[in-house]
Amino acid sequence: MADELDPRLEQQLRDALHHEADALPFLVRAEDIDRARRARSRRRLAIPASLLAAAAVVVVVVATVVFGRFGNGDIAATPSASVAATEVRLVGYEMLTAMLGVTKADLQGEHPVADPAGTPVTVELGTVSAPATVGYAIDCLGGHVTLTFDDGAGNPSTMQADCATQPYTAMAPGSQDPYRVSVTADPAVRWRIVMVAVAAPSPAPFHLATYEELEASLAESSIMPVILRGEHPVAETGTESVTTDLGPVGNVGFEDFAYSCTGGSIKIDKVAGDIVLNGMGTECSDNIELYTDATDTVDPAAHIVVTASPQVIWRVMISGAPTPSQEPTPEPPTATPSLPPVGTGETGLISMDITAADGSITREAVQPAGVDKYLLHASCAGSGTLELNIDGVDGYWDCGAIGTETFAPSGVGNGVYVVATVTGEARFLLRLDGVDLAATPGVTFVPPALAVQGDPVDTGGHSAVTAFAGCGLRWTPKAGGGYADECGPSWQAVPDHLVQKPGTFISISLADGWTITKVEGAVARNNAVVITHGAPAEQPWTGAASGDTWTFPAPPLGFWGVRLTVTATKDGDTFQVPYYAAVYVTQ
């Protein structure tokens, strides 16, 4: 039993997890849930543009009416709270009808007088022809009402509407037959409703996307190969749903779907036998839709099945890649160093690079003085794996994960080395920081791609700029995923030797292939930013000598922190690096 493996370690793990999670402030309130629920309800109501327009015009009127309840003498002169609630006048049928942008309602009904002692009241509004969308405007006080659409064929559909004064729309419940509409509410709830049936618009000719079109859509967001596809291109009669097995998906745990369908809704499920591992269901639209199953559910017996009514025509294409094994790679590929060498004694940001590789990269014999602990950040994107060996200790990342590790050098004589073994089509980033960066003099930032350094021209006696790349590194690979430091609100401390005088020049050196798309500067004191400034406004900077200049407005007298955030791209990847320095303004 797993439970019996190591009770002491298990207890340590329990304690660690609870220490980490239970200390978090829990800020979700009932109001947040209620707000989200209302927003979700609104999203489910597909409001025709015409009704929306009508509602937009009428809202002002209704707002006046609502306000009038309390300000225009519609209520008793000196009501108690409970009396006021019962005497508030419901918005009239005419106004409700106007809210729908029409002059005549198809159905209407009301329960205008509260009866707290009674039983739930159901009012039949009448029959609406289908297929249609119904729009309804309701004024309601005291709770909520439930609308029931009953096609008489045993498929009643209900919808709850919270008390408010507003227009809604509701989709016909799916039946092709006329359906009866009724409203049920607690007897204490007072309400008045009008409803119009909006004929379903004549649909534009539907184009069932071809496999080529689906593949093109997939290719825009997925780097994984197509693994399955299937179709039901001709509508059929019948009432029983049709389930189509697209085939086994094996150990693929992350799939991207592209699908096109019309005539109802479809479900795309990953199943193993009778068990649905994951799935989605959706109404068909006129467009190619994309969906990602990112739950990483893997089962050797898993198949992808599509379920839909026989009237629905559909075409589905799926891309995916096998989930990496948890076993370490037994035979590391041949070393293919591609990073620039790191000199002995180098401190601060030891190494940073992004690259696409299939092999091993070794950074070795780095033994900075005065640094006794390191923070290693590793990020990997793509379908491969990234395995790290730090001073002989294995770490492991698959490309769906990123991680941070701290470690100490194993001894003065041994140095620190990092071996990164990359398999598959992976792009990775390694970043190695000395934790006591601020305490180490002479720190220089040595990323191979970007460098901030003092301008070689005469700076008028001012010291050349030195900055360090601090917290705030962000990498966004073109294939998706990415990495970002989580820095919190505080600025990083700047060591004394990085304090600059105002008027210091800055140059930004670019390695081949890089383009600076944005530079943002900020000046702050006590974490309060007082100046922000950005460039370039129009043209990205390319090349090492583009000649662009940029002047940062001077802050007031005193000591200020300066953060220069450089955003650059290379081969479709975006890299954002914040450089920290400080300036002391004396005049």
Partner: protein
């Protein structure tokens, strides 16, 4: 009462669910996502999903594991679809001795490096204290798979702690 209200899609049940399970759901989601804001979104999403699908809860006694199952799947989905932003642990600049805090951070680091579903299994077993069977149901897999995942996870942690001890001996005598 809560289950009946859920099956009846009665929104007033949400307050009760939030009071009883909100913090634990947030904890599970946070340990999977390592993002507090995203974890709180998962709480909201989980409760609303439960309200929508209340009729799917057949066993009233399974309410808690059912909610944690929804939350776990939401968190796993969020994790893979988000921009994968990692939150770094705040470390002392100059640690001078190895403490329980080091062990705790080591264990959490191990959890962070686990593959997502293994991490979810560990969180559900050792944070939410679900049984192996409940973890398997939550993740849609077999009990044997969960046992294997937990065993491998613990083994990785044991190795990391052992390596730490070795480093401690080497660097601090």
């Amino acid at each position: 009462m809560t289950v009946e209200a859920l099956r009846g899609h009665r929104p007033e049940v949400l307050d009760d669910l939030l009071d009883r399970f909100g913090r634990e759901i947030a904890g599970v989601a946070y340990l999977i996502l390592r993002d507090r804001a995203a974890a709180e979104d998962v709480v909201v999403d989980t409760l609303l999903t439960a309200l929508d699908r209340g009729e799917q809860l057949r066993d009233p006694d399974a309410l808690r594991p059912w909610l944690l199952r929804i939350a776990t799947n939401r968190a796993l989905g969020v994790r893979r679809s988000s921009s994968r932003v990692v939150q770094l642990h705040v470390l002392p600049d100059r640690p001078t001795r190895w403490t329980d805090e080091d062990a705790r951070l080591t264990l959490l680091g191990c959890v962070d490096r686990l593959a997502p579903r293994m991490r979810a299994a560990v969180v559900l077993r050792y944070y939410a204290d679900l049984s192996v069977r409940e973890v398997a149901e939550a993740l849609g897999t077999s009990e044997n798979t969960v046992k294997t995942q937990l065993r491998e996870s613990l083994e990785q942690m044991r190795r990391s702690l052992g390596d730490r001890d070795a480093m401690r001996e080497a660097t601090h005598g």
